[in-house]
């Protein structure tokens, strides 16, 4: 009798064990990635929509089972734009055994690049500084670098200047590694024959008024100002230029200044801040598609925002797109590795990223060109799109382009 009871118990226990493993198999694997960024503090106007973009896309992936029965967890933590907190967050994420990491600022990306190298973890930052790629192998820029953006804008100025002689250009830069990122490449491009006269390079402060700077520009005949900074100083400069009646009403208008900006120095959030000073004739470049560009990318982004209860302002924000896009690349990398039957590890995802080129390039729909990475190219989307503001919205100008001089100076 006792033996019979033991046998029944053994069978029941075996059944429970088998059932347990079966349930685990059905539930699938869980992959973890981390995102540390400024949801509060300086640049939180960028970090907050960025975080929401990544969060919504990860929810969508899980809800729609884009990774089959496997689940993706994205830890999102605020670092208040402080590198020491970013490092702590990153270390906490490592304890959670993340396989992919999304970083944010130029400063923290530069500071942690040795950590990324040691951990051998693929990293996509929100910073597009080409210098991030130096001295390590694991950082990948999602889109064209700040250098490509600034030089690309300068090329547009050189090609479309209406007056005689070389167009006089000033650079308006953030006083940090982020702002200075394209400075030397613009100078090198000019030395290599780019047809602009680089009159001044200004690193701004926390100014309430830019009258002196703008008047100085005017006295030196500056007709174009290219900004590589965040939106608030650009807004203050534009409002100042408006009060001095200096903003060109048409591109290159003689005696006035045409303002242009790189990714973080423009977009819908700039119009929200600067109002009428930015809602007409502000030129801006990025690799992201704008919500004014009709197509499947726009429709999908609106649908995603609506699905997760986001408002219209967020749905149109370029940094919401930015957050979606980096999560898309991470998910696509995992999906490709899974499709090959590989176990998802940092090393496997790194190899998958490096193989994302040629026929394997990834078309995200949220960018103006495909994401391509290889051992010699860790700048994702190579193409840029020029936009101009009209009635407060940004519209495409011409076709997507690549900076010719950045290629030249890097040869």
């Amino acid at each position: 009798m006792k033996n019979k009871q033991v046998t029944v118990m053994r069978i029941a226990l075996s059944f429970l064990l088998v059932a347990g493993f079966a349930v685990q198999a059905v539930a699938g694997e869980t992959y973890k990635m981390g995102l540390s960024l400024a949801i509060t503090g300086p640049t939180s106007d960028v970090g907050s929509p960025y975080a929401k973009g990544a969060e919504d896309y990860v929810k969508y992936v899980n809800d729609e089972k884009l990774l089959g029965d496997d689940k993706l967890v994205c830890f999102i933590r605020d670092d208040g734009y402080k590198t020491e907190i970013t490092k702590r967050n990153f270390e906490d994420f490592l304890d959670e055994e993340i396989v992919f990491y999304l970083n944010y600022s130029t400063g923290s990306t530069m500071a942690l690049r040795q950590d990324f190298q040691e951990e051998q973890i693929p990293v996509l930052p929100a910073s597009f500084h080409a210098g991030n790629l130096e001295g390590n192998d694991y950082i990948f820029l999602p889109i064209a670098s700040y250098s490509s953006q600034a030089v690309g804008l300068a090329e547009y100025v050189a090609a479309n200047h209406k007056g005689s002689g070389k167009p006089k250009v000033a650079l308006f830069l953030h006083p940090s590694a982020f702002g200075r990122a394209p400075r030397d490449d613009v100078k090198k491009s000019v030395a290599a024959g780019l047809g602009i006269d680089l009159v001044e390079i200004v690193e701004h402060g926390k100014d309430l008024d830019n009258t002196a700077m703008l008047k100085r520009f005017q006295s030196k005949g500056v007709q174009y100002v290219i900004s590589q900074t965040v939106q608030p100083p650009v807004a203050t400069m534009l409002k100042g230029a408006q009060s001095l009646d200096m903003i060109a009403k048409t591109y290159g208008e003689a005696g006035k200044i045409t303002f242009l900006g790189c990714h973080y120095g423009g977009g819908p959030a700039l119009v929200s801040l600067a109002g009428s000073a930015a809602d007409e004739n502000y030129y801006w470049t990025t690799s992201y598609k704008m919500m004014t560009a009709k197509g499947p990318g726009r429709d999908a982004q609106f649908a995603l925002a609506k699905r997760y209860g986001r408002d219209d302002k967020l749905a149109k924000d370029a940094n919401y797109t930015n957050g979606i896009m980096v999560a898309q690349v991470a998910v696509e990398t995992i999906r490709r590795a899974k499709a090959k039957g590989k176990k998802i590890t940092r090393a496997v995802l790194y190899e998958e990223l490096l193989a994302m080129n040629g026929f394997n390039a990834y078309n995200t729909l949220t960018t103006v060109g495909p994401v391509t990475f290889s051992k010699t190219d860790r700048e994702g989307v190579d193409t840029l799109q020029l936009y101009v503001s009209k009635g407060g919205l940004f519209y495409e100008v011409g076709a997507p382009f690549e900076s010719e001089y950045v290629k030249k100076i890097k040869q």
């Binding site: 970090g47 830019n210 002196a212 100085r216 939106q231 408006q242 001095l244 801040l273 109002g275």
Partner: protein
């Protein structure tokens, strides 16, 4: 010549806004000897209240601006009543630490709202065409800002010199025990000092918000940016805040206009105020107009 004049006009505009922002520090310090580290956060709160009243509640912007001053007046008074009144008589460092805590609390509360991480701009209600004279340009926003600033500064100068309440506040600042002995309510004076500082902060926030747009990081940083103005002018002097504000505005414009771009110099407008601050404090440790108290034992 018009370049010089333009720099003077812009310097006075910027300087008067600095003076208005600095006034909040002075009002509190003048009556309670407390340095309110959270002043930048109150400036931002005032600006956001004006925006919310205008855009979300549909109240005309001028009325919203006045209402926000009233609301911030009441909020600042409540802050004093809840957090600071218990600290009367405690070491000054404890009170300053409380204002640092207050700064974090207000930061946290604002980050819970869209104002913490989104950009906004006030609806435009003034003409876009700049005012031009003698080759000099200024926007209507700047003009209105200067008028509001000087009206408020004039009003407060009169208030402290002529009104009974203002004189009571000065008396409390001079000697709390002597003031109490003649029947002045020190706690009420402290409350009123905080409230009036809140009122000026809302005015400053409204003006700065119109010039820069509404970004929390930009707005609250004005609490730090005007610090040299407060110190140079003298922590307890309204006249000092005005003079130092305008001096700083002019120095910044001239530095940016005449030094930047030459000899490889840039960003002098950010550095020079602090150099001037150090030089002035070397010769006048209480600021240009600060009261130098002599204690006899």
């Amino acid at each position: 010549m018009s370049y010089f004049l333009q720099l003077v006009v812009s310097g006075v505009v910027v300087g008067s806004i600095y003076a208005l922002s600095a006034l909040g520090f002075v009002l509190i310090y003048k009556s309670s000897r407390v340095l309110n580290i959270a002043h930048g956060q109150i400036i931002a709160t005032g600006a956001f209240i004006t925006y919310a009243l205008t855009v979300f509640a549909g109240i005309p912007i001028v009325l919203a601006f006045l209402l926000s001053m009233v609301i911030t007046f009441c909020l600042a008074m409540s802050v004093e009543r809840i957090f600071l009144r218990r600290l009367i008589g405690e070491p000054i460092i404890s009170v300053i630490m409380v204002t640092i805590g207050l700064m974090s609390i207000i930061d946290g509360l604002i980050y819970l709202t869209p104002f913490g991480s989104e950009n906004f701009s006030f609806p435009e209600f003034l003409p876009k065409t700049p005012i031009a004279f003698w080759g000099v340009s200024m926007s209507w926003t700047q003009m209105v800002g200067v008028v509001i600033t000087f009206t408020m500064i004039g009003g407060f100068t009169w208030f402290f010199k002529k009104s009974t309440v203002g004189i009571s506040m000065r008396a409390v600042s001079d000697d709390q025990f002597a003031s109490m002995s003649v029947g002045i309510s020190v706690p009420k004076v402290f409350g009123l000092a905080w409230a009036t500082a809140g009122l000026t902060a809302a005015a400053a926030g409204g003006i700065i918000g119109n010039i820069t747009g509404l970004n929390f990081d930009v707005l609250h940083s004005f609490g730090i940016i005007v610090f040299p103005v407060v110190i140079v002018g003298g922590l307890d002097s309204i006249l000092g805040a005005i003079v130092a504000g305008i001096i700083m505005g002019l120095i910044q414009q001239f530095a940016s206009g005449y030094l930047d771009g030459k000899w490889g110099l840039f960003g002098t407008a950010d550095v020079l105020p602090y150099i001037i601050l150090l030089i002035i404090l070397l010769f006048k440790p209480h600021g240009l107009f600060g009261i130098h108290e002599i204690e006899r034992v």
